[in-house]
Structure formats: C-alpha cells, structure tokens
C-alpha cells in the first residue's frame, strides 16, 4: 500500500520523549510524521512561537519498518480558536504561520467552523473529540471545505485512554461521516508517549468503527495524509506552480513544479 502518515504527534519540551515517539512511529511503519505545536489563544500570554528545528532532533532519522528510506518529519501548527479575533493569526499574510509546513485549526463553535471551512487558509480542521459536540455539521460548509482540499482530522488517543472519550469520539465522527460521506478524512494519533501510538493497519480497522468504509479507512491513513501535505506545500509556494529557493550567490529563477504535484483544485 501507499505511504502511511501520522500527522499529529504532540510537541513536548522533552527532546528524548519526542525522539522515542518518532522512533516508535518509524518502527510501526509510518513514513511521514508531523510534530504538532498546539497554541490555545484563549489562555493569556500564548503566542505562536517558532517551530522546533527538525535537524536538531536527529542526526540520522530512523528508517521506516519495511522500507529503506528514513522517516520524514515535518512541523505543524494547531491553533485552538474559540473567538473570532483569534482567526487573525491564520491569515495568509501572517508571518509566523509561514514557518510551519502544515497549519491546522481547531474550531470550538459553529460560526468558527463555518469560517474555517469557507475562508481560513488552513490545511487541516481538527474535530473535537474530548467533549460532545454542541453543534451539528451542516452540508454546505463541509462541501466547500472538501472542494478547497481541506482535510478533516480525527484524533484517536483520547479514545484509547478513556471510555467516555471513546463514546464522544465515535459519535462525533459518525455525525461527520453522515454529512461528509467519508471524503477527506485523516485519522491521527495525538500521541504524547510512545505507547499511545498504534500501527497503521490497526488504525485502518478503527476507521471502520468510526463509520468509514473500508476503502475510505485505508485512504484516511495514506492518500489523504499525502493530500494534506501537498496542500501545505501549495500554501507555501503559491498554489504549487512556483517554487522559489534561496541560493547564496544568485536568486534561483522560478521553476515549474511538476503537474503531478498540483493535487488540489484552484480557488475561484
């Protein structure tokens, strides 16, 4: 099957723990892993900081089980928004968010979910898993998000830890499946410790519990992750057509990215 990806590994200040988690992910067979920096703007004095330098973590990244390539580590930012003023950080022109490869938003209210689907410049929308969702999903914003190439994320580590969280997870994901028909869904771990990770085939099976069909569940851990990655790249490089690189002597001229990379449809 295609490459597996786990796009949510919570960033901790303890480097050894983070290394352990990433090594476990490589052992289980994940080819791509994203270190997630969560920013909750409601708490005071929380700012979007710089992402951790990936090269500092590993001198030589661990090889993926079953393949000969080393694991690919990228950075991701998740902004938890509960008020409309927090969305200012997520505009295209915001300087800090450009440093991250992937940008995700975790909306807490219906209006913010609507804004995130329609207008905000993000790659991933995280669905609440730890409490009963106060609002129902509506079809129009979900369809617009799918057209824009935005991916919905289900996090499974609360479900593993606690039984009531399991119920909320399954009920929230089932309501999303009813509306979105299982398109553009990824399942990721949200793991803080290496024991909270699960293998990709186990997760594909969990997808069946969450209401996905078999093909959708397998896509949720492989092709849709790649979709989110490419969407993040297009955000950095002006819709995937232009890719600029900094060179020391002469600034590189614009080179066309290959057509196969342009996976998402253009914005109207």
């Amino acid at each position: 099957m295609a490459l597996f990806g786990d796009l949510n590994i919570v960033n901790t200040t303890d480097k050894r723990k983070l290394k352990n988690v990433i090594e476990t992910a490589a052992h289980l067979g994940y080819s791509t892993v994203a270190i997630n920096h969560v920013v909750n703007l409601q708490e005071k004095k929380q700012e979007i900081g710089k992402p951790t330098c990936v090269a500092e973590l590993f001198t030589s990244p661990p090889t993926v089980q079953g393949k000969s390539k080393p694991i690919k580590i990228i950075t991701r930012l998740t902004v938890v928004v509960s008020e409309a003023s927090h969305c200012n950080e997520l505009r295209t022109t915001s300087p800090r968010t450009r440093l991250y490869d992937l940008v995700a938003v975790h909306p807490k209210t219906e209006k913010l979910f609507h804004t995130a689907c329609m207008t905000l410049d993000v790659d991933i929308i995280e669905i609440i898993m730890t409490e009963k969702q106060q609002f129902h999903f509506k079809r129009p914003p979900v369809n617009v998000a799918i057209d824009r190439g935005i991916v919905f994320e289900l996090v499974y580590s609360p479900a593993i830890k606690d039984s009531t969280m399991r119920r909320y997870t399954i009920s929230n994901s089932l309501s999303l499946m009813n509306i979105g028909k299982g398109k553009n869904i990824i399942i990721s771990s949200g793991a803080e410790k290496p024991l909270e990770l699960r293998g990709p085939y186990d997760i594909a099976n969990l997808g069946l519990l969450f209401g996905l069909s078999e093909g959708d569940a397998k896509a949720a851990i492989s092709t849709n992750c790649r979709k989110a990655l490419l969407h993040g790249e297009t955000r950095k490089t002006a819709q995937g057509v232009v890719h600029t690189m900094k060179k020391t002597e002469v600034p590189e001229d614009k080179e066309e990215a290959p057509a196969s990379k342009r996976a998402r449809t253009d914005d109207p």
């Binding site: 476990t24 089980q65 079953g66 479900a159 593993i160 909270e196 293998g199 085939y201 186990d202 099976n205």
Partner: protein, 162 residues
C-alpha cells in the same frame, strides 16, 4: 465440505518497561484481550469471540503473539486490540501496546511471514551492534533462519533468538 475457517492474527506486544516482557503469560493475555472485546463491543462481541478464541503462540522474548478466532468475527477482535492499554500479570498492571502485523488464514502462512519479519528485525539491529561478537552472532542468526530447514525438522515453531 464444511470446514471451520479461522483467522490467525499475528501481533507484537510492546511494553513501556522492557524487563516486564518476560513476565508475559498466556492466561494474562487471554483475559486481557477478552475483557477488551467485552468493553469495546459489549456482550455481543464477547459472545462472538468466545466461540473459538485462543492464544496459539506467545514468545516472551520477542513479544510475538498469535491469536486465533473465527473468520466471521475476526474484525471485531481486530478492532478491539488497539484499545488495550495494560496487561495484568501476577497482580501487576503493565502498560503495553498490542499492534497487529499480519492476518493469515493458517498457522503456516503466519509462520512464513514471521520468519521474514524476524529476519528484517535482525537486519535492522545490525547497524546498532556495539561489538564484533554481537555482529557475528546476528549474522549467524540471519543466515540460519529459513523455512525449508524448519519443514525438514518437522512442525516445530521456534524462531531465532534475539
């Protein structure tokens, strides 16, 4: 011809504390998995999987586990495995993780896969060897594992030692 078809789930058990792997017992795993199925799928799940559910093989050194269940209900069992967070053995709870690596229809296919998997694991361990003796012993282990040899010996199911 009516034949009972089963599915064999080959899993790997990982512990937080590597030493507690040696306390692994078949009974502990059996009751742990059965309770996890009851919690995840309720009475229906517990009843379905109780029909022909056994722990066929357990290797405490490598943490490899082979479970058998009926073909009709193997997905119930498989989907309950990620929810296991600890195993009880000798009155102590050891936090662990069970990840499945292969599903097979017969024990022999699982055995073939396991030999290939163990060979891959040995090759992954090779760069991390500290001394020449370790390297030599890993080399010997890799060269010595083959299915033909095992089939000549009989139906014994022992793998290479770590």
């Amino acid at each position: 011809m009516v034949r009972f078809k089963s599915r064999y789930l080959l899993c790997e058990v990982c512990f937080a504390d590597p030493r507690s792997r040696q306390c692994l017992e078949e009974r502990a795993v059996f009751s742990g998995v059965r309770d996890a199925i009851a919690r995840a799928h309720g009475d229906y799940g517990a009843a379905c999987c109780a029909v022909s559910f056994t722990v066929k093989y357990l290797n405490a050194y490598t943490g490899i586990l082979l479970l058998r269940c009926r073909k009709e209900h193997y997905r119930l069992l498989w989907s309950a495995l990620p929810f296991i967070i600890h195993l009880e053995s000798r009155g102590q709870r050891q936090p662990c993780r069970i990840s499945s690596i292969h599903v097979g229809g017969t024990i022999r296919t699982c055995q073939r896969f396991l030999i290939r998997y163990n060979r891959q694991q040995l090759l992954r361990m090779l760069p991390g060897c500290q001394s020449e003796e370790e390297r030599a012993s890993v080399h010997r282990a890799v060269l010595s594992c083959s299915l033909k040899q095992l089939e000549e010996e009989g139906s014994s199911r022992d793998e290479d030692s770590d």
